[in-house]
């Protein structure tokens, strides 16, 4: 079995079968990460470019390491030091990169839909590393991978996603992936950060954290961006922490063996308390490890596959 498209734009357009294929492939990739010599020749001679129009630590490093562990060549374009500063359009930048023989472009961009736009321009594969408020499919996949690894299966899990749902591409990718694999999803956050008609995506929406956490198997806490406060979307970090901050105390409403996740970077003391983030049931750092395995799997399936 192979992936249906040349690009990874979002989990919305993926089938459950494709998602499971990526997770199964990531299982064997994770084994490579435990070796002393973390290098396989699978993607030798293939080239991957990361093109980031927004800041990133985890995602970019994770993609680059994933590529390098499989012997691909990587280059990265940081838009703060590139011709983008001279006014070059995304289209021109991308076509120039492709003209140098790149096989995969990994892009992060503040505007939703930019990866769709790019995929229409390029013959190379496009991997969405986060587009605006739309999707962050590799984060969604690594979250699914982590849940499956810890809980055995996704089917029938009760998953609560807590925080700024409105602006969160992580939430959207999680929702698509989880619902396709049969989990039940609740989303929770202040009404001002809840997108309209979110329940049409097959989730239940809450503004009461205790109710949202009640009986949850997994709690995925989203990052709260401080600049949302300046726009008046919530009154203060203090009140946010009071109403929506995830703490060991609030987590008592969830199942005893609840899994606590966060895509990072964390605002300790705001959306998540240190006591919760550093507790036994927190898998936040394992998510990061799994991110490399999942990205290796995706690169392998896009580039290696049958003809490697």
């Amino acid at each position: 079995m192979r992936l249906a498209h040349k690009d990874i734009l979002g989990l919305e357009e993926m089938t459950a079968g494709e998602i499971l294929l990526i997770l199964d492939t990531a299982d064997s990739m994770k084994e490579i990460l435990t070796r002393t010599i973390k290098k396989v020749p699978t993607l030798r001679g293939r080239s991957i470019c990361t093109l980031f129009y927004e800041a990133s630590t985890r995602t970019r490093t994770s993609f680059e390491l994933a590529a390098k562990y499989m012997s691909a060549d990587t280059v990265s374009v940081a838009t703060s030091t590139s011709s983008v500063q001279k006014g070059e359009t995304l289209k021109d930048t991308a076509m120039n990169i492709e003209a140098m023989g790149i096989d995969v472009v990994v892009m992060r961009h503040p505007v939703s839909g930019s990866c769709h736009f790019l995929s229409r321009i390029l013959k190379a594969s496009v991997i969405n590393a986060g587009d605006g408020m739309h999707e962050h499919p590799t984060q969604g996949l690594l979250d699914l991978f982590t849940m499956r690894e810890k809980k055995g299966q996704i089917q029938d899990l009760e998953v609560a996603i807590v925080g700024d749902i409105y602006h969160s591409r992580v939430a959207r990718s999680n929702i698509w992936g989880l619902t396709k694999l049969g989990a039940r999803v609740r989303v929770c956050g202040p009404q001002t950060l809840m997108p309209p008609d979110i329940e049409k995506l097959g989730v239940k929406a809450y503004t009461d954290l205790d109710r949202a956490l009640d009986g949850a198997d997994v709690v995925n806490v989203l990052r709260l961006q401080r600049e949302r406060q300046e726009k008046g979307l919530f009154p203060s970090a203090r009140e946010y922490a009071m109403l929506f901050g995830v703490t060991p105390q609030r987590l008592k409403a969830a199942k005893q063996d609840v899994l606590l996740m966060h895509p990072g970077p964390m605002n300790r003391g705001v959306e998540i308390s240190s006591a919760a983030a550093d507790a036994q049931n927190s898998v936040i750092l394992e998510q990061v490890t799994n991110g490399v395995a999942v990205r290796m799997a995706i690169l392998y399936l896009l580039l290696g596959g049958a003809d490697a």
Binding site: V111, G113, M133
Partner: protein, 427 residues
């Protein structure tokens, strides 16, 4: 010079005519309209059997982009597109560069249109200087130069007091305000309609209320001032309801609907995968809004159909969705959309559709157009109601190829467009 239009179904709503007749044009005037016209010295006969012979269509809302943005459109290309779309008269919005907020720019538009225009061009002057929404512009001087209405289209007048004064001043001159209603605080950074689709696509949504709060404000100000206010591109159920209510109170309000707002929904942004040709202000709305706009057209709440023809260069659209310019190049698809989306399903009779494209906008603009009465200027649009077409934006006459309707199979198209007795377009 005599031209005979023979055997067509003549539709002239202002005169209550809808039957098969001949129409004779002599020079720039309509000479006769009769069951059968036989006379000597006819230079050209147009066989109009199975065709609809209508007064020339009037589009009271277009952007010709001239002066200043000639790379998007200019008066020559925009009026060529107009006649190709069946429109003999267009009113052009003042968001040019420089802004048409003074008599000099208005005179330029009129002079250039006389030289290069294929259709009649009626300049709309700005409500406020520089479209800034702060001080009212020299409306009197612009009227003397030929402006037919005032608008800050593309931008709202955010300050209610400025709008109140503008209405008072415009009503002194007897000209209407063409009102772009949008509360910028509610719409800011929005790229599409707020709803389930914007949630899925992760695009910042513009609520219908962003339009409706200003429609409500401005019909109240029209009530207060007695001014004539025409609501541009009404796109939501709330707007239609408010306009209907205002009309029931006797407020002098009229309103238009655009083809894209009664033809497609915000779902198209998803179907076309963020294709920026779907980005327009006000945005494509929900299915319920489309239903309400059609109901508003049917019951007369919405008086006219105008295109908001907004041509853009590829460079302004071939970018990320949020960065793309707003607007649809719509003047060449309007007739087909009216017939396919309104006439074919009985929302409008042929006569009602033609009225909303002719005598209704002519009346609002106060121009002597929109009928086929003998003696009037021979501006005539002949429509082929049976033609099947596939929309091909790349073949548009307009410089702007930005249309979300590429590939749409539509029914009906303009067949012949005559301006002042002269054939300016033939299919």
């Amino acid at each position: 010079m005599k031209t005979l239009i023979a055997g067509g179904r003549v539709v002239d709503p202002a005169n209550g005519i809808d039957r098969v007749m001949d129409l004779l044009i002599e020079d720039d005037r309509i000479a006769a309209l009769a069951e059968k016209i036989e006379c000597s010295g006819i230079d050209r006969t147009i066989d109009a059997r199975k065709m609809l012979v209508c007064p020339g269509f009037v589009d009271m809302h277009v952007h010709l982009r001239d002066p200043g943005f000639e790379y998007k459109e200019d008066i020559a290309s925009g009026t060529a597109a107009a006649v190709a779309g069946g429109f003999t008269t267009v009113a052009c919005m003042p968001n040019t560069k420089p802004v048409a907020d003074n008599a000099t720019v208005v005179e330029y538009i009129i002079a250039k249109s006389r030289r290069e225009g294929k259709a009649n061009v009626l300049p709309v002057g700005a409500i406020t200087k520089g479209l800034k929404g702060e001080e009212i512009s020299e409306m009197g001087d612009m009227k003397s130069a030929g402006a037919v209405a005032f608008s800050d289209d593309g931008r709202p007048v955010m300050n209610a007091e400025v709008m109140r004064l503008a209405m008072q001043y415009a009503s002194m001159l007897g000209l209407p305000i063409l009102d772009h209603c949008e509360d910028l605080n509610l719409s800011q950074e929005g790229a599409m309609n707020l709803g389930a689709t914007s949630t899925v696509l992760g695009l910042k949504g513009i609520p219908g209320a962003a339009e409706e709060v200003q429609v409500a404000r401005d019909v109240l100000l029209a009530k207060l001032t007695g001014a004539r206010v025409h609501i541009c591109h009404a796109s939501t159920r709330g707007s239609v309801d408010i306009i209907r209510w205002a009309k029931s109170l006797g407020v002098r309000v009229t309103a238009e609907a655009c083809p894209h707002h009664f033809s497609v929904t915000d779902e198209l942004v998803r179907e076309l995968q963020y294709d920026t040709s779907t980005k327009v202000s006000p945005p494509l709305r929900s299915a319920d809004d489309v239903k309400a706009v059609k109901a508003g057209l049917k019951d007369g709440t919405l008086d006219t159909i105008a295109t908001d023809h907004a041509p853009h260069h590829k460079d302004d659209k071939d970018v990320e969705y949020t960065y793309a310019a707003n607007g649809i190049s719509g003047i060449e698809t309007a007739v087909s959309l009216v017939w396919t989306k309104l006439v074919s399903d009985g929302t409008l009779s042929v006569s009602e559709a033609v009225r909303k494209l002719t005598s209704a906008p002519a009346g609002i603009l106060g121009i002597d157009r929109g009928t086929l009465s003998p003696g009037k200027v021979a501006d005539i649009t002949i429509v082929d109601p049976e033609a099947d077409i596939i929309v091909k934006p790349e073949s548009f006459v307009s410089k702007g190829k930005n249309s979300p309707f590429g590939g749409f199979a539509l029914r009906a198209r303009p067949f012949v467009t005559i301006v002042s007795g002269k054939i300016q377009y033939e299919a």
